[in-house]
Structure formats: C-alpha cells, structure tokens
Amino acid sequence: MADIQRGEDRNKELDDPRGDGRVPTVICDNVHIVYRVHGAGSGKGSATAALSRIVTRKASPNVREVHAVRGVSFVAYKGEAVGLIGSNGSGKSTILRSIAGLLPPESGRVYTDGQPSLLGVNAALMNDLTGERNVILGGLAMGMGKDEVREKYESIVDFSGIQEKGDFISLPMRTYSSGMAARLKFSIAAAKKHDVLMIDEALATGDRRFQRRSEERIRELRKEAGTVFLVSHNNNSIRDTCDRVLWLEKGVLLMDGPTEEVLEAYEEFTGGK
C-alpha cells in the first residue's frame, strides 16, 4: 500500500504548481502539547494522606498541567535532515513523540506522510530476550516479512558491530552496555526504509566510530527520499548531518533556518562553544 501512496505522490509532484519538487512529509500546525500529571503536589506517602487525597480529590482534582509545547508550526520536506536543538526540558522529545503519533496534541494538528518512527534514548526493546531475538522481533514488528528479516539479519548485526568483541548477539539484552544496546536499536530501526525517521539522542552513547557510521546511514536514508529528525546536544553531529535546524526553547519555536545560522545564534545563547 505504501507503493500506491508513493505513486500518488509522484503524480502530485507532476502537478506541483511551482515545480520545485518539494514534497512535505511532516506538517505541524500550531501544535500545543500538555502533560497532565496525576497526584502531584502534597506528597506524603502515608495511608491516611492517600485516603484523604482520595476523598478530597472528588472536590478539587489534584492534577498539575505541564504545557510542554506552545504553538509550534513548521513544514518538513522529503529528503531533509532536520536538527532539533534547545536546552534540557525545552520540549524536543515531546514534539517528536507527538509527530510519531504517541502523544496526541492538546490543540493543533500534526500531519504526516505514512507512519513516522521514533528512535528514543529510553526506548528499550525486550531486555530479557537475546539480541538475536530482538533483531528478528524488531524487524517483524516494523512490518517486515519473515524472509526479509532473514535476508537482512546479517547486515543488521554487522552494522551494529556488537559481534566484534565476542558472541554477544546470543546473550540477553540486559547484559549489554548502554552503548551496545543503542547500537543494536539503531541498526534494527535503520534496516527499514522509513518515510520519516526521528532519532532522539539515541546515538549519544555510541562511540565515535559508531556515530560516524550512523551519520553515514542517516545520509543514506535521506537519499532514499525520507525525512530525518535528529535531536542532539552535540552541535558537531548536527552540523555533520543536518541542513536545517529548529531551535526550541520553553516549548516555543525560537528559530527555524539553515544549520549554520541557527547554530551560531544558539551557541551565542548558550555562551560560546
């Protein structure tokens, strides 16, 4: 069915009035995202406190709201690699979760082409299963066929490089170091052609060699006409992979433009390099 969709896109490119061939893949239209935190505030853990909270909750709901993203709008196009920067808690992970369809916006809409995939830093696969099983299950869960998984298995394991130090692929994932787990996760996700792939600091724990290799792979994915979002606190890694950067601060989109321009302003804001 994805083929049909792509075919239609091609038709649309034909009747694109301006003929610049830029096809949008992600559209955020004035997106607001609010987290609701239940049972925040008066934090005594005793049974009587809990009981009184249950009783009083009926009168006044004890819910705190965190307005994490405030009116963000942008359009991302096919073949773009978009960097997301901003200080801790500025809403980068939140907006990606919303683009991935995991967190419905409070108001506004997110439109996407196909199903975006989010590769998060704390997204564990199945820790009690071996790396081998995780590769197979991950592939099947992403919608690959049995044969396709078998075909790609070798290249996924090779790419992750976790076999280089011994036979780790047959050990449960809970025995992996955080960098090894991140490598395997990225390799699984990168094996498939994604219309939109979002990487949230997932490469940060990988070593320099793996970061280089995955940056290479990100460039390939872009060439396959997908869109890639990359969150990183490492400006160099953004510089190497992205041609456009969004700068979020306190949930507001401060700047949206070419990488150098935005990074320069951001580096000034954060106090030099």
């Binding site: 949008p24 239209d29 995991l102």
Partner: protein
C-alpha cells in the same frame, strides 16, 4: 494505511482558527497548512485506523505475534536451572497442592467419581483463563518500551499474551492426559471435543485479555486488584467441588448464574470430554451454546473495546 480514515480522531482536538497562531510563511501558492496537508495526502498522525484497516494491519503482523509469544515463553524459565522442565513441573506441583488441600484435608470430593482427574482438569483449564487475564492486565504497561519504540497494532500484545498461555496449557495437557490415563480413564471419541472447547476458550481469553489490557493501561491499580478478583472467580467456578451438588441448596437463579459462568462452562466441557463418569446430565443446560456465545461476545466486544483506545497506549 489508508489515506482516508473513516474514524473520528480521539485526542486531536480541532481548534477553530486560533487568533494568535504563528503561521509559517506559506510555500505552496498561499495554501494554509491543513490545505497543504490535504493536497499532498498527509494524514493526521496517531489517528486510529478504521476497524477493518486495523484487522488488516493485525493480520499483517501475524508472524510477529507468533514469534513474540514463542520467544517470550522460552525466555520465561531461562533463569531457572531446570529450564523448560518447569513448563511441566509447574502444573504438576499445582495439581498436587490442590489435591492435598481439597481432596485430602477438606474432602470436597464428596459425590464426585474420579476426583483427581476432576480436580486437575479444573485447575489446569481455569489456570489458562486466569493466567491470560493476569498477563493481559500488564500487557500494555510492561511493554511501554516496545510500544514507544516501534509501531505495530497494539492488540498484538494481549493476543500474544494469551497465545503464550495457550502453549503453556498444551504442556499442562500432556500432564493432564497422563494423570487421566493413570486414574483408569480410556481414550475414546469424546476426547476430540477438547479441540473445539480449547479454541473457544482461547478466543474468550483473548477477548477478556484485550479488555483488561485497556483497563490496566488506564488504571494501573488494576494489576494489584486482579489477583483477588480472579481468586473469587475461581471459588465460584466449581474447580474443586461440583456446582451441581452445591446448587441443590441454593435459589434457582443462583444456579443459573453459576451455570452460565464461562469458566465453569469451559471446565465442564473438558471434563465431559475426558472423564467417562462425567455424564451429559452433569453439564449445564445449553452448554455448547453458552461456550460459543461467550467466545463471540468476549472476542468481538474485547477487540472493539481495545481498538477504541488504540492511539492512547503509548502515553503511559
């Protein structure tokens, strides 16, 4: 993925023209963002697919569901030294404990021929439903990592949970058949009735697992409450006593309720298949009708109920 989705989009609240909306400089001939989205056939992210689409997506992931449940079952006992042997040991020990308490100490066996076979069948068959529901309750919350990492129809998880328990039950069935043969029953044609009964029970279990999976994702305290609910259910399901013997002293409507209890229906059907002294007279009225009806109601109802909240399971 169909481009036109016929469902309403939960969660994505449409706002009517916000006055201070910062607009991106329009790139495509002055189209607004929603118009641009429509023009290029983009869909609202995270919108729930239509019911038929959902079924189709789920069918597309059947290999994932199968591989996942096999992997999970084999990972279950990897930390124990005896490994896979526990698949058989666990039901055996269970049966021994129940026999000691209810057969020897409490003597609930009055009026039941071949009590060992009667009891063990009840324990194993009820355990299938019980374990599916318990695991289903945690089906979403235990797998949030997977749910947030990859996209797949979330109903895969409660369904695999039940399939894991079905495999577990098949191990138990080997033990059960051995016990039944040892107590002097002989295989006959009625043993084949086990197959349709287990199929119906599995569908029923999947349905209930889907329901509690959604409830458990929304109300996390349910996982704490569930063991008590299930124990109560077991006590009224005639696992270690005969309902027919008990209802003589109770009002008729209570008897009706006990007979309609799905757990009792499936347990009695397996007993009827395996045990010669368990006669058709001991079966509840319209027992096959009840077995099919429960499977259809729970299966269809549970599936639709679960699907209705599909877009919300990643939130946690």
């Amino acid at each position: 993925m169909s481009i036109v989705s016929d469902t309403t989009h939960n969660g994505a609240v449409a706002v009517s023209a916000p006055e201070n909306a910062p607009r991106v400089p329009s790139v495509d001939g002055g189209l607004s963002l929603p118009e641009l989205a429509t023009k290029y056939g983009l869909t609202v992210s995270g919108a729930r697919p239509g019911l038929l689409d959902y079924v189709r997506q789920l069918w597309g992931r059947r290999h994932f569901i199968a591989a996942y449940s096999i992997a999970r079952l084999s990972a279950q006992y990897t930390k124990a030294r005896l490994g896979q042997l526990w698949n058989v040991m666990t039901p055996l020990l269970n049966a021994a404990v129940y026999y000691l308490i209810f057969g020897v100490l409490l003597q609930t066996n009055r009026g039941i021929d071949n009590f060992i076979a009667y009891l063990v069948t009840g324990v194993f068959v009820f355990n299938f439903t019980q374990a599916s529901i318990l695991a289903g309750t945690r089906g979403i919350s235990d797998n949030l990592g997977l749910i947030r990492a990859l996209h797949f129809p979330r109903a895969s998880l409660p369904i695999s949970v039940t399939l894991i328990q079905l495999q577990q039950l098949l191990y138990s069935m080997i033990v059960l058949v051995a016990i039944v043969l040892m107590t002097g029953e002989l295989p006959d044609f009625s043993w084949f009735l086990i197959i349709p009964t287990l199929v119906l029970q599995a569908i029923f279990n999947i349905g209930v697992a889907l329901i509690v999976a959604r409830l458990g994702a929304e109300v996390t305290d349910l996982a704490q409450l569930m063991p008590f609910l299930l124990r109560t259910w077991m006590y009224v399901s005639g696992v270690f006593y005969s309902i027919a013997n008990v209802v003589k002293h109770l009002p008729t409507w209570v008897g009706w309720m006990l007979d309609l209890n799905p757990a009792a229906v499936y347990i009695d059907l397996i007993r009827f298949s395996l045990i010669d002294s368990f006669t058709p007279a001991q079966l509840p009225h319209h027992v096959w009708l009840a077995a099919v009806a429960w499977a259809v109601i729970a299966g269809v109802g549970g599936f639709v109920f679960f699907w209705k909240a599909e877009e919300s399971y990643g939130r946690g």
